[in-house]
Amino acid sequence: MSGTTAERRTMERRQIAWAASAMIFGGAPHLFAVVPWVALLVLAVALWRIVAAARGWALPSLWLRAPVTVLAFLGVALSYRGVSGVDAGSALLLVMAGMKLLEMRDERDRVVVVLIGYFLLFAVLLRAQAIWSFAWLAGAALGITAALAQTVRRERLLSVPGAAALAGRLLVQSLPLAVLLFVLFPRIPGPFWAMPNTRATGVTGLDDQIQPGDISELSLSDAVAFRVRFDGAVPPADQLYWRGPVLERFDGRRWSALPDVARDGPPTADSAAGMAYEYQLVLEPQGQRWLLALETPLAWSAPRAALGRGRQLLSADPISERLSYRARSVTGGGMLAPESPEMLAFDLRLPPGRNPRARALAARLRQDSASDRDYVGRALAMLAQGGFHYSLTPPPLGQHAVDELLFVTREGFCEHYASAFAVLARAGGVPARVVVGYQGGERNPFGDYWIVRQANAHAWAEVWLDGGWRRVDPTAVVAPGRIELGIDETLAASPVTAERLWRANALVNRMVLSWDAVNAGWDRWVLAFGPEMQADLLLALGFEVPRTAQLAALAVAGTIAAMLLMGFALRHGRRVPRDPCAILYARLCGRLAPVVRARAAAETATHYAEAIASARPDLAAEVRALTRQYLELRYGGRYDPAGGRALAARIRRFRPAAAPAHR
């Protein structure tokens, strides 16, 4: 449309490069996450396309493209066993964008590629939500918007910094409305369609069954399980028991959870003995349904969550996204709740023929005990004084695992002792179960919250005493430091991992903790923003408890207000700081442009006047005089309105003829 064919082709080539770069901005983070052949294919295609544009090669015909596209789609479907879910979806998008690059001929194709770039960026955010994703979001949104601005231009391309500046300006101007929508747009708790659960697989975490050795494996992992912030009082370290799955079925070696059939009624805490705490917990995705809570949760804000069997807090769906919820718990007392006789009988069961020596020991202790409570005390004392050791790497145990632990190896980890104690309790006629969860945590001084890692995974027992379930932690008796100090300090021979060595340095640990604090703040304020925080915010702003419809009305009203404001700025706003001299000079240039030539963008007024004078000697005197007058007016100190009026009148009278011949 403008310029010669060669210029046109140069421009088109650069536009193709811009469109390809939009795809890179959106797609680059995916390249490491998709199956390698997709990444290789897309990179090769993008590279080939840029070279083809530079060299003027012909694009492949439909006969080549169509089968390749079909094959690539089939390949994705095979590699991912389907095309639903974020991973397969992003692979598919990448392949689509790559194929679109191959048929990118005109502006429409380029725009499609750029829009796919935006969508790829969206998929990046579904994959990762850490702070770096936000940084990438900002940078890539800028890059893709710049690419969109460049790719639709027809007259002249902007320079790279020019395009970036334009995109940056547009995005910054869009921010206020975006923030308004973010805060006010009604958040309807999803999901509306199936949540792919792929990301939670392979995540380390608790399981709903344990056998000796499971938790000691977990304790090597420094991965964060959740972060928690207490409102007000913080429980003492020996009360930080985060309850997870409750295991009641025992086969002699392995403890496992019962299927969640009957929901128990709400528990009542032994409030006389306990103390109430409120906290907000940000749980990392673990692909399981349980929500961690301090023992005896009384209230919680997590949507679609309820107490399941054993009063474990369960979500309706597996946790595949980071989840934030508030809860109130009472700790220290015990759970006072009715329990059916059938269930209590189940909690006494032991597999026949297993661990005979432990049973014999239990029978002996029971004879000496006056009551259930006394019996539990004796069993604990036996563990405390029996010469047991706490070790991450105990010798392996055989079929009679509890017997071997109690009488042979005398060395074990928390799951060993929890299991052994529960077996002793059951053998002594006290209903008992094993609870898995986390104990303790690391306080982050920078953000005043607690980080609970997989290494804090713990197992303990609960026994039925005096009409309620009471927590008994045999590990606390065997290795009291484990509860008060944490695992690293307790185990002198704790295995050395690179990360632990790294964090052993105090300065490094401070840095790690402060970065974690930044992340936690990010999680707390940005990622955890949801219906509850929205409601809190609006309540704080003085609104009544907002409903979805009211929120929608508010968001719509906000958007309309923003648009009206924009319209107002458009109509009445001074777009330009109106320099009267500049306007007069523009008018003069407007007079001269048609008869001689327009002023070049970089041309000074004097230079322009001289150029006019040499082209049209008949205009020279007047143009020089007008230019001088303008320069004096503009740069001669304060603006003189009378001088401005005089110049305006003179320019009005100045009517240069089209051709000098008729003068």
Binding site: V111, Q129, T145, R154, V179, A562, R571, C589
Partner: protein
């Protein structure tokens, strides 16, 4: 399918244009594009962009993903911001019609306009077009002015009223299309198309007009032979030398009194319809202008006194352009 679509949009565009004309009226040659006459609609790319944002919003809701929400709202807000920018690219733009040199019917008029940007922000990617013709770029820098030449098709001779000019832009992101219709109340002159072949000039001394009293060039001073120029009287062609060497030569005469006047007269033309005769006469006028004799033009109702030179030629062509068929006998 595609042509149907084109016909549909053309018809809708025509209706909208007519509506805008009724609403705005005709414009003077100097026009400022005020906000109220700028129309704005999303482009197809803009509609796809809107769909994309809605999809993202649904995805963000489903996955309860706050960064997804952030991107979706940022893009939605960008879509709104772009409306403002696209509109602002045109609002306040000034343009002035400078006119166009007359052309022969069938040749495109070279319509010249100046565009002035008095704002400190650029107005990039502005395009001008007539209905049905390709857009011409007219982007402006800050405080900039520019001369734009717009070819305008012509078909018939006479005064060509300017069609509605569309000033449009899709800047900055191609998501919105803003445009203004400018119906400048002006007419541009189109000369008649000259007949293709040479039309012999009338013999001004011709027997059918013996009384016109104009002198022929002096036959006395024969100065030699020169090559044939359009407008030379066939009587002076040296047919003998043509037969000898195949080149058209004419006998040239020098000196002797004022050059004889050539009268180009509607009534001396062979019979034909009005346009045909106008074409012949135009050809004759052009040929006469290329010759070295003064010429005059007679069309029923109009007489252009004999003269020579470009101005005279323009005057004659102008008269021929506006010959009205109903004024002829």
């Amino acid at each position: 399918m595609r042509s149907l679509w084109r016909r549909l949009t053309a018809s809708l565009g025509g209706r909208a244009r007519g509506w805008a004309l009724r609403r705005q009226g005709r414009d003077p040659v100097f026009v400022t594009l005020e906000s109220r006459r700028i129309y704005i609609l999303p482009t197809p790319a803009g509609l796809v962009f809107g769909l994309l944002v809605l999809t993202m919003l649904a995805g963000a809701m489903n996955y309860n993903n706050n960064l997804g929400f952030a991107l979706a709202f940022l893009l939605a807000s960008l879509g709104v911001t772009v409306i403002y920018h696209t509109h602002r690219t045109l609002a306040g733009l000034r343009l002035r019609l400078l006119g166009a040199e007359p052309v022969f019917a069938g040749d495109p008029l070279d319509v010249r306009l100046t565009l002035v940007n008095e704002a400190a922000t650029p107005r990039e990617e502005v395009f001008l077009d007539w209905p049905g013709s390709p857009p011409v770029p007219a982007g402006l820098g800050p405080l900039d002015s520019r001369l734009v030449r717009l070819p305008l098709e012509t078909r018939r001779r006479g005064a060509r009223p300017l069609p509605g000019l569309r000033v449009g832009t899709r800047a900055p992101l191609g998501l919105m299309h803003a445009w203004a219709w400018v119906h400048i109340d002006a007419q541009l002159l189109v000369w008649p198309r000259p007949a293709a072949g040479p039309v012999p000039l009338p013999n001004s001394t011709g027997s059918h007009r013996p009384h016109d009293g104009h002198q022929r060039p002096g036959d006395e001073d024969f100065a030699g032979l020169r090559s044939y120029r359009r407008g030379d009287s066939p009587r002076r062609i040296a047919w003998k030398s043509y037969a000898r060497c195949g080149e058209l030569l004419v006998r040239d005469f020098r000196g002797g009194g004022p050059a004889a006047i050539l009268w180009l007269d509607w009534n001396t033309l062979p019979p034909g319809d009005v346009e045909q005769r106008v074409a012949w006469l135009t050809r004759q006028v052009l040929d006469a202008a290329a010759g070295d004799r003064p010429w005059g033009l007679r069309v029923p109702g109009i007489t252009v006194e004999p003269a020579q030179g470009r101005e005279h030629l323009r005057r004659c062509l102008e008269q021929l352009a506006v010959v009205a068929p109903e004024a002829l006998p």
